[in-house]
Symmetry: C2
Subunit: 307 residues, 2 copies
């Protein structure tokens, strides 16, 4: 049995052409850079504008990345949709392509749904995919999805599908919740990824598997360094340095800010394009972002200048 | 120019077979019954579990209904998705099929998005469809979508796309909001539909166009009677009678309750099937529902017994 994926992953931002169609070539360049920085690829996460892409657009991008040589065992695409039929289709493709796992949102249109209903959703997907290679990482992000994954739901899924339920990304922003997941489930081979590098050191000390973080799109090497060195005397200092960079991005709307930074450091301005309902940074926001990054001596070494 | 659709519409519940695949034949039977009760068809609304269906499943059902003779000028399908590419595809099909309009959710994954971002979403869809026959009814349902349609956004869209922006369904549950829409926009040919029959009489008195209500799936004739007779002396009494029936359904989870009532009065038990994350009524809930309906002498006359 192969090793499960661990470490730092980026919810890879999805580049669009100026007409807002997905740009497979720029995505490939960015994925290659991230892989070169030892960061895995959680394509189609929240920061990827995944839900602003049709299922077909996502399937096409997955196929193109793998066909171009991106290693599938470093990929954990988001495959959880509102419709079970969509989730099964996307997840089955990811499994067929040999990906390390899939990051799975709960269905997020109806609110205040029951754990029984969410259990049936995940059970139906597991049965619909019907492949023993399937590894699901649950995606708990109540600030956005407004539908969460409770501890009781995790326990029931782990009891019934121990092979398929591989772990979780906890983007609750609530360390007490992450700690409870570690205490209750890490001993059962359930891999807990922090939802940002803010909790990376705490998560590793608590027995976690790494983090999946927006800012790994722009600051991958430094985040990976903490993952590699979390047991050293420098770990707290490395965490502080990561926090300072993250704070700069968190002053702005995150997804447009990530894209703006990539555009700036690559000199490739089309990278700023987002799909509605998101909007690009305003001139004031982008000036503030770049001023802050320059003041922090922030760089993105090795980033491919595409254009 | 043809008359715009007015009156009472049902967000048609979507029947599933016992394997949870969409059941086109039962949907057709239910649509025919609703049409016979003078109720229009807002298929693929919230109560239709629309977001639990893939875009392909929705396209197939639209095609099948029209091919079977359901009148497209009595249809207002929901076509607003998180991905613009999906919204364009669904909306274009509805327009091509000659439907009266489309009911359009805003993209609902990202929260706290700007009116600018929502404006770009609707503008992109209008331009992507590129058909002068397009009539969009905005769908304001913040309790579920968590992303609303502000008065300022309506004004901007009406200013820029007066032909395409035809009206709104207001499911905020806030009469002050509905009244503000009527006061500001009804004079510009913007048709305001109340989100339930609870506000049907008030909406008609304020210059509205009707209502689009969950319970029109089960109580269509009585709701249409109030629409027809809202200017008569009996109107307040009719409103009170509608409220009493609606209150029975609102004691239970609405969508499973609607399906349970249809199953009960048609004798066709497969109708109770819902897709996760929803769950069917519990035995206690279903007993309470039927007891309450029997006590109220509620009936669904003419409902086709399918099985």
């Amino acid at each position: 049995m192969s090793e499960k994926i661990r470490g730092v992953l980026a919810p890879v931002v999805t580049p669009f052409k100026s007409d807002r169609t997905p740009d497979a070539q720029r995505l490939l360049s960015h994925c290659r850079w991230l892989i070169s920085q030892n960061v895995g690829l959680a394509v189609f996460g929240t920061n990827s504008e995944a839900n602003s892409l049709s299922v077909e657009e996502r399937l096409d991008l997955l196929d193109e990345l793998v066909a171009a040589g991106v290693p599938p065992d470093r990929m954990m695409p988001g495959t959880g949709c509102c419709a079970i039929s969509d989730s099964v289709r996307l997840t089955a493709r990811a499994v067929k392509l040999g990906m390390a796992g899939t990051l799975m949102l709960p269905p997020f249109y109806y609110k205040a749904v029951s754990d029984e209903g969410l259990y049936r959703n995940f059970a139906s997907i597991i049965e619909g995919v019907g492949d023993p290679r399937l590894k699901i990482y649950l995606y708990h992000i109540p600030p956005v999805s407004q539908v969460g994954i409770s501890l009781g739901l995790i326990e029931r899924l782990l009891d019934d599908f121990p092979g398929a339920i591989a772990g979780i990304k906890d983007s609750s922003g609530d360390w007490n919740n992450t700690r409870a997941m570690l205490e209750r489930f890490a001993g059962r081979g359930f891999d807990v990824f922090a939802g940002s590098e803010s909790f990376l050191l705490a998560n590793m000390r608590g027995g976690g598997a790494g983090c999946i973080s927006a800012t790994a799109n722009v600051n991958p090497a430094a985040i990976d360094r903490l993952f590699q060195q979390w047991q050293t005397a420098e770990a707290d200092q490395l965490q502080n340095e990561l926090d300072a960079i993250r704070a700069i991005f968190q002053k702005q709307p995150m997804i447009p800010a990530l894209k703006h930074a990539i555009a700036h450091f690559s000199g490739d301005s089309v990278w700023i394009t987002v799909r509605p309902p998101l909007v690009e940074l305003s001139p004031q926001q982008s000036k503030q972002l770049i001023d802050d990054l320059v003041a922090a001596q922030f760089e993105m070494p090795g980033l491919v200048v595409y254009a």
